[in-house]
């Protein structure tokens, strides 16, 4: 493989980090895997370099190679890493250890895993100060408190004495950031620091990072798969694909003028809050990342690239600086801007469903689920207090035929529990559920097969939703036999039909789940649900653990299936854009209650419930020109054991109007015929407050965008 390193564009300041031609190889039983190849990048002081790419593209590997902390079987096979001209590759392990924590620090993806569970938080910060700043115990403790304060921790003293499990994910991530900044490092590497967090928390953390970095002027390597996050926070972005940089440049440049088809495809995959399934299908990138041990000889993206020519497949492209500071690895980069619809699917043929009055499939009224907290095991040793957890506390929802009801809300708000109540997997504590006019028993065990057939579910975790020991065919075939009344001799045929319906080859019937990718597993799960030919399909975060391109294709699939079969969906997600994309109706849930419900486009335009508003303003939008009003929800969702009195949202509500919020439960107000909000603030006032939530700062080319 020829070297395709090209000197990065000159920059005004000396780069803090200069990575040149970095290659990393993992030694495995199958042989060496070249996980990263000839990656060059430079990050200047105060710069935030966003490194994006799909899962497995090598982002983490790059980061770990930079700090020389690769897994035992990994090795840097070429290239150099200079930190302020210091050649890190030449350092001894002991010297490297001195660099770690003082000159380079890292923030890891899963904050709850990255904080030692049995050491108090404060100590974990203080020890860095002691080791690298030579402070004594007292000074170090002071420093720790100071750092906790810096990251906006309200009561540093108290937090310092706590343990990891006592803090929420967001707080832990602040702790990690505080730790990383304690020594005022030259380079900060953040590896997907917000992926594990709620959208609201993510927004707060991103703001914090942004503000702190302005203050500290640290160079940052920010790794994420979320293009929205890059757009919001990074100054430069590099798009990594299968271990190679495809495109790199300043954020506005790259988002405005994509010079690589991969970037184009990737951006097109992301659903937008302003466009629904009725308008357009999402882009998808065909194929998948090539396996590292079987990389194509030419351009590695060529097999998936619609504009690939023979030359692309033969010759490995070199990186070119197409515009100042904007590099691409595409031979045909000039053609890319002219082909904005390269990956676009045709206009959606999904017609609007029946009128909002369409027949009711599910009418859930005042459903509640209160879990009894009975102490078992050791944890119960120290457990006291109320013994009830009100996971769902009075939710009423109607799902109409052929429509999708989307449910959004932060983690822990009760979305899954509600869905499971409807499905009968947990028995609701009270409430009424009516399916096509027939009351539903609380438990699956009491529902006749004819009813069971009508409700099917697609689960969140693709790995757990298929039995690892059962073949795809057996998995889809079983509901056909149980619920579908399919004669046994036709089961095989139906299975193949269903596989085709979810766009899987028929031969997959013989595969076992571990031979499938995450997206494929979810397709099988969908096929399994479809096999019963349900009237109502409950999708509980079916896409959240998948890559954007896979998400897009799954959403397209769901939408098309709905069009073809007229199934109603209960679609649960915390990703507002996704919910917006697939739903006709949206319900916003917080702490087991419903706060806003209505047709999708109405819910996503003012007036919003303050909570909806906060969710929307926190959503990272992959468009650097969009300016969102900064509405930040502080703290995390209160525990469902101790529910605040009055309006449950008052503890975090940015628009709290006074004591009434704390004492009185708000009433429902109708905004439009089908759109209601549950808030003390009158609708008109809300409208005024929320006028400028999202604003696009660039001149609108098509006129379609604009103020909404």
């Amino acid at each position: 493989m020829m070297s395709n390193g090209v000197a990065p564009p000159s920059q005004s300041t000396e780069p803090v980090l200069q990575v040149t031609d970095l290659s990393v190889v993992y030694n495995t039983e199958k042989g060496p895997l070249p996980a990263v190849r000839h990656v060059s990048l430079r990050i200047g002081q105060g710069e935030i370099y966003g490194l994006v790419g799909e899962s497995g593209s090598g982002k983490t590997t790059v980061a770990r190679a930079v700090v020389r902390y690769l897994p035992a079987n990994g090795a840097v096979s070429g290239g150099s890493v200079l930190l302020n001209k210091l050649d890190l590759m030449g350092l001894s392990p002991v010297q490297m250890r001195r660099v770690w924590g003082s000159q380079i620090t890292m923030v890891h993806q899963d904050p709850s895993a990255a904080v030692n569970p049995s050491i108090p938080i404060g100590e974990q910060i203080a020890e860095v100060a002691r080791v690298h700043l030579g402070m004594d115990r007292r000074q170090a403790r002071e420093k720790a408190l100071q750092m906790l304060n810096q990251v906006g921790m309200s009561d540093p003293e108290a937090v310092a004495g706590r343990y990891a499990h006592q803090l929420s994910g967001g707080m832990l991530q602040r702790v990690l950031i505080a730790t990383a900044l304690t020594t005022n490092p030259q380079l900060l590497i953040m590896d997907e620091p917000t992926t594990a967090l709620d959208v609201t928390t993510e927004a707060v953390i991103l703001d914090l990072v942004h503000d702190l970095l302005e203050q500290y002027q640290t160079a940052v390597l920010y790794i994420t798969h979320n293009l929205g996050v890059v757009a919001r926070i990074a100054t430069r972005v590099g798009v990594l694909y299968a271990g190679e940089l495809m495109e790199e440049g300043a954020v506005p440049d790259v988002f405005k003028r994509k010079l690589h088809p991969y970037t184009l495809g990737l951006l097109g995959c992301v659903p937008r809050v302003d466009i629904s399934k009725h308008d357009v299908e999402l882009n998808t990138i065909p194929g998948s990342i090539p396996p590292l041990d079987g990389l194509p000889s030419g351009c590695i993206f060529a097999p998936r690239c619609p504009m690939a020519e023979d030359a692309c497949r033969l010759e490995h492209p070199t990186q070119v600086e197409a515009e100042p500071g904007h590099l691409t690895a595409c031979r045909r980069w000039q053609a890319v801007p002219r082909l904005p619809d390269l990956f676009a699917a045709p206009q959606s043929e999904i017609e609007r469903g029946e009128t909002p009055e369409g027949s009711l499939v599910l009418d859930a009224r005042n459903v509640a689920k209160h879990f009894k907290l009975r102490g078992m095991g050791v944890a119960a040793l120290w457990r006291r207090g109320p013994s009830e957890l009100r996971a769902v506390d009075d939710i009423s929802i109607r799902v109409r035929k052929g429509h999708t009801m989307g449910i959004v809300g932060e983690s822990g708000c009760g979305k899954t529990t509600f869905a499971r109540c409807v499905a009968g997997l947990v028995e609701a504590s009270c409430g009424e559920m009516i399916l096509e006019g027939e009351p539903l028993a609380y438990s699956v065990a009491h529902r006749p097969l004819s009813v069971l057939r009508k409700i099917q579910m697609v689960f969140q975790n693709p790995d757990a939703s298929l039995n690892p020991q059962l073949s795809v065919g057996a998995c889809i075939g079983r509901p056909l036999i149980m619920l579908g009344d399919t004669p046994r001799n036709q089961v095989g045929q139906r299975v193949r039909d269903l596989l085709r319906a979810v766009n899987l080859p028929e031969a997959y019937a013989d595969r076992l789940p571990h031979e499938l990718s995450g997206g494929e597993k979810q397709r099988v799960a969908i096929a399994r649900a479809l096999a019963a030919n349900p009237t109502l399909m409950i999708c509980d975060e079916p896409i959240s653990s998948l890559d954007v391109s896979v998400q897009a294709s799954l959403m397209n699939l769901l939408v098309r299936l709905q069009g073809a079969q007229g199934t109603s969906y209960l679609f649960i997600s915390h990703d507002l854009a996704a919910v917006r994309h697939v739903s006709d109706w949206i319900a916003v849930v917080y702490l087991g209650r419903l706060w806003e419900v209505g047709p999708a486009e109405e819910v996503f335009s003012p007036p919003f419930h303050p909570y909806t508003e906060a969710l929307l303003s926190a959503l990272p939008i992959p468009d650097p020109d969009v300016r969102q009003k900064r509405i930040r929800l502080l703290g995390s969702v209160p525990s469902a054991v101790h529910i605040p009195p009055g309006c449950r949202f008052h503890t975090r509500c940015p628009h709290k109007i006074g004591a009434v919020c704390e004492t009185e439960e708000p009433a429902w107000q109708n905004v439009a015929r089908y759109h209601s909000i549950c808030c003390h603030i009158p609708v008109d006032e809300l409208c005024d407050l929320q006028r400028h939530l999202l604003r696009v700062e660039r001149p609108a080319p098509g006129g379609k965008e604009g103020e909404r």
């Binding site: 700090v67 902390y69 250890r97 001195r98 660099v99 770690w100 924590g101 003082s102 380079i104 620090t105 890292m106 890891h108 993806q109 899963d110 895993a113 990255a114 904080v115 030692n116 569970p117 049995s118 050491i119 020890e127 860095v128 080791v131 690298h132 343990y163 990891a164 499990h165 006592q166 990690l176 730790t179 102490g375 050791v378 944890a379 119960a380 040793l381 120290w382 457990r383 006291r384 207090g385």
Partner: protein, 315 residues
């Protein structure tokens, strides 16, 4: 907390009573009769019958059991059927011996096992690890009677370094008693060492993989500090509970070791009791063993909670 403890205590009590019932039924079903065993083959049937009557062995089994249980729970452990002496004194004295042996064994194999386990984990898959794994497996594989016999043959008989027989006098001062305890303790340790080492190795490897250890390394902390503070603190948790749970075995399960060395521990007392069909003695000893087992499990759980802040402070 209190409800938890109350609940656990109730379960322990239930377990103990059920276990005593199991043992009672089992010993009752054993062939052989205490009166005959006591009076010997040559005593007349009349004498045996008299004795049975006197010992209350002719009462219905459930009466005997309940009578015994009630007395036991009120602290009256009864009089041995065989030698007519208070059982409690005998059992408690033996318990003392067993505890001594258990303590010394723990003192040997726990630190050593942890050390080996940690070293193996740090050299994961390397030659040192392979060697330690092989060694611990081989030690686990050697039955106590083999190690015991070999140790006696060399250490005690050929080299006369330590006593071959550990039937220590109850009045022996602890310092003196030590030399009688060493060989049995080593024998016990050899069987348990490998287990502890493997446990520790596995949990340490798990912890070494944890993100927070990676984070600690990347904080540039000295390696020793990472190991002692960040790794061991978490990786020893399962080991601690395994050790605590092993106490039950150390107290009542060392039948083979005790008989190889003639050590007067509870295990051997029990064997005697069984052989002599001394139901009262057997019941008392098994109650003690089962109780210790149950409580050491409880202690293991509580210890886990205490050492593990995740559980300690969970609300």
């Amino acid at each position: 907390m209190t409800t938890y403890l109350v609940r656990r205590f109730a379960f322990i009590l239930l377990t103990i009573i059920a276990a005593s019932l199991v043992i009672f039924v089992a010993t009752r079903m054993m062939p052989g009769d205490v009166a005959r065993v006591m009076l010997g083959q040559f005593a007349t049937d009349q004498a045996v019958e008299n004795l049975r009557e006197e010992l209350g062995l002719n009462r219905p089994a459930h009466v005997q059991y309940l009578d015994w249980l009630i007395h036991f729970l009120t602290g009256d452990w009864g009089v041995s059927l065989v030698n007519r002496l208070e059982v409690r004194g005998m059992v408690l004295q033996r318990l003392g011996n067993s505890l001594k042996l258990a303590a010394l064994s723990l003192g040997i194999y726990v630190p050593l096992g942890i050390l080996l386990g940690v070293v193996a984990a740090l050299n994961r898959e390397g030659p040192v690890d392979q060697a330690i794994s092989g060694l611990s497996m081989a030690l686990v594989g050697l039955p106590e009677f083999v190690t015991g016999l070999v140790l006696i043959a060399f250490v005690a008989i050929s080299w006369r370094l330590l006593p071959a027989n550990s039937s220590i006098d109850p009045d022996t001062p602890l310092r003196e008693a030590f030399k009688y305890l060493i060989l049995p303790a080593i024998t016990v340790s050899l069987t348990s060492l490998g287990y502890i080492a493997r446990m520790t190795r596995a949990s340490t490897i798990n912890v070494l993989r944890a993100d927070y250890v990676r984070a600690a390394e990347l904080k540039g902390l000295p390696r020793r500090q990472v190991l002692l503070k960040h790794v061991l603190r978490n990786s020893l948790l399962p080991t601690v509970t395994v050790v605590a749970m092993g106490i039950g075995w150390l107290i009542g399960g060392l039948i083979v070791t005790e008989s190889v060395y003639g050590y007067p521990g509870l295990g051997r007392l029990l064997v005697y009791g069984i052989q002599r069909r001394d139901l009262i003695l057997v019941q008392a000893v098994s109650m003690v063993i089962v109780t210790i087992y149950s409580f050491s499990n409880l202690v293991a759980d509580i210890l886990y909670g205490v050492l593990n802040p995740r559980i300690r402070l969970a609300d």
